[in-house]
Amino acid sequence: METNPIRIVVYHCRNLRLFKNGEQKAFARSRPGVTLVALPCSGKVEAHHLLKTLAGGAQGVLVCGCAEAACQYLEGSMRAHKRVAYARSWLRQIGIETERLQFVHLPPMDGNALDEALNGFTARLESFGNVTSVAKIQAG
């Protein structure tokens, strides 16, 4: 029984169309601890969103973008990738595992690819142990 699932927030580009109607809820139910956030483009993610998400109690953040050549907004996927790298540089400064922030290119309409990416990401996070108690401390 998973009493304490690893808390992961997934920011995914809506244009990936990872879920058909109603599938997103079912997916989230099958993955306790995972919060899915659909964005109009992965390029909407900024470094402060990523750090805030971690500071808010997530143990890892996965950003899913389209292939760079397929980005409808031309630069969105590339920007998201760069911002994840920038946010990671902050984690490095702070002394927190940089792999807690991950960017992946996913093929469109492929929920299984997300599933696989999450499996690998979860396993990596599990190896770090319980992240930070930031949320509890700072929430007050």
Binding site: A55, Q93, I94, I96, I137, Q138
Partner: protein
Amino acid sequence: MIVAELKPINEIRNMIDRYSSILVVGCDSCVAECAAGGQRETMLLAAALKLSYGRENKGPRITEAWLDRQCVDDFIDRIADQVPEHEAILSLGCGAGVQALARVYTDKPIIPALNTLFIGETQMRGVWQENCLGCGQCKLGYFGAVCPVTRCSKKLMNGPCGGSKGGQCEVNSEIQCGWDMIIRRLEGLGELDRLSEYVPPVDWSTSHSGGPRRVVREDQKP
């Protein structure tokens, strides 16, 4: 605009560790344009501090705020209700903003989160170039709007030193030769003749070398 960059988080921590509540205040003017101290960076730094303290099981109260300008009293007043609730203010303003906050909130320690660098322009996204030293005697009109005081590493006012190669400065090959830019620009404008005019050496007494400067306009005073 004023160009600045965020200090390393350890340096900031060294200055704020003694406080139990910190108001992180951004500035949405120059330092927002250079992605150092605007709303985004304020949220970023606040989150980074929370993570940094959380990692050590410490929990100072960290609150975010931002002002349209940190160097004007009318804007500074807008955080007046938040200031008393915090022990210190961490400012993401330039040096002028930090000192303006200190002048207004006399009983609060104001800690700078940025290193203020120079007056410059946004050349392209992610690239900021110094192009004004604030010498107090602008002579850009003689030089095709390229400043020899700032863009020439040797601050030469009457022609190139002769050391540049391929348009790059001999001091540092990554710096464009200021005089190469001046001559090409005047050539393009058909105004090379401007360079035949003698321009005397800069009188540095009007620059910062003459001490802190101040402009007083009676017509603008209340």
